[in-house]
Symmetry: C3
Subunit: 180 residues, 3 copies
């Protein structure tokens, strides 16, 4: 059978169930990859752009398999999300960087609405102070890396003007969270 | 609008080589994301549903780059997999949760058969005991996170009634495994 | 040619912007998954095959958010990459394996050119020595796992004869790198 030359990403099979577009799935997962970059770069503007105008971030913690406890107030609206980065995240200590990583994305798309659940971990890398007479043996990386947070990102997204935006991002820590 | 009956996600280029369907690749990777959720939730039913009736899980360990050693008996059949979770996994210690994460999935599809190899890590998060007078400074997450296992998931899958199911899942630890 | 109404995995929409092919995105991410396998298996041949003839690997380190510092000389050309593995990577210590993992891939495709940025972590797993009278309680894995490196892989790729190859891979450590 001669197949058409253009690629088609999904069809409606005879059982009537829509299958999500692979372009949508990639675009949705991309939002989270951009979110962690914005977070690690402490870029509130970039982070806010990933949210719908009335989008929301909420933080939760829990002990073991107990109920999640809301920590602090939900951050509601792109403007508050933009400012939240400046106000809530302390300046990075010197010689320090952080990496938020995400894995195992479960993405479900229904037209212009979607959900995405992923696992996240946060690592802190602190460089050693460089000695006055330069680095000493042995060769390699100089500093310490610590795993400091772990949990799930649970989210809803909406496709607005062709671009997927977060309407809800719940940061569900797998440890209790104390806001201070 | 009438949609074509056959899925075309990819075309048959002039060189005659089939390229795997992207919908298939997403669905296959999804199986592993669901497997780790079921494992972390200690849900033997959810885990068993990801396997073909005669599906199998085997556990291996090794030291360095030596040969993998089979640890314990293979768990064969969806029913035994369902029970295996209850019998083999001890109840979680208090204040404890685990996260199995997977990365770097190499997926090869050939019609209704597929292979998937991924890296896995397992983390244990243990919440601190909450003091009687509440959490104390500093703010943040309260507890410890430990990396406890690492290795490869190597698997075969078959598409049964339109759904990808595991026929073989080898858990290849990069440390020796002692079954006790 | 009249295009069908259904979604196509890549099209040239009326705004003139090409959208990347999902097959391309999978193939590009696959290159990094294969790169980490080749690295962990110390397979210089497999690693070199992922690069264009004039491909290049460069290593960088930094402290906190300071500028990246080039560490050592760029490794230029598939032949030098093939040899680099033998010459630069010391033989694995006994009972030791390493896992390079990658996450959060941001892939942009423009025809036969692409960029890919991902996060990476490197873990070292060292098996315990097996006691003369065999492993002792408790059951489980026997050895230690340590997180030893973290950063970003930043890369360019080109599609050559239908296969995506790395033309540039920058290993951007989030710690200072001392080459010795």
């Amino acid at each position: 059978m001669q197949r058409p030359q253009i690629r088609q990403e999904f069809i409606s099979p005879s059982d009537g169930n829509w299958r999500p577009s692979m372009t949508d799935k990639h675009a949705i997962q991309d939002v989270l990859s951009q979110y962690v970059r914005a977070t690690d770069e402490r870029d509130g503007d970039a982070q806010a752009r990933l949210f719908a105008d009335n989008g929301m971030i909420r933080f939760f913690g829990r002990s073991g398999t107990e109920e999640y406890q809301l920590a602090g107030e939900p951050v509601i609206g792109a403007e508050r999300i933009r400012r939240h980065m400046k106000e809530f995240f302390p300046p990075r200590p010197e010689r320090t960087y952080q990496h938020h990583i995400t894995t195992d994305h479960l993405i479900r798309v229904n037209g212009a609405e979607a959900t995405m659940n992923a696992q996240f971990l946060v690592f802190s890398s602190v460089a050693a102070r460089k000695p006055e007479d330069g680095w000493q043996a042995p060769p390699g990386v100089k500093g310490d890396i610590t795993l400091i947070m772990i949990g799930y990102y649970d989210s809803d997204l909406r496709k607005i003007d062709g671009v997927w935006k977060l309407t809800r991002l719940d940061v569900q820590h797998s440890l209790p969270v104390f806001m201070g």
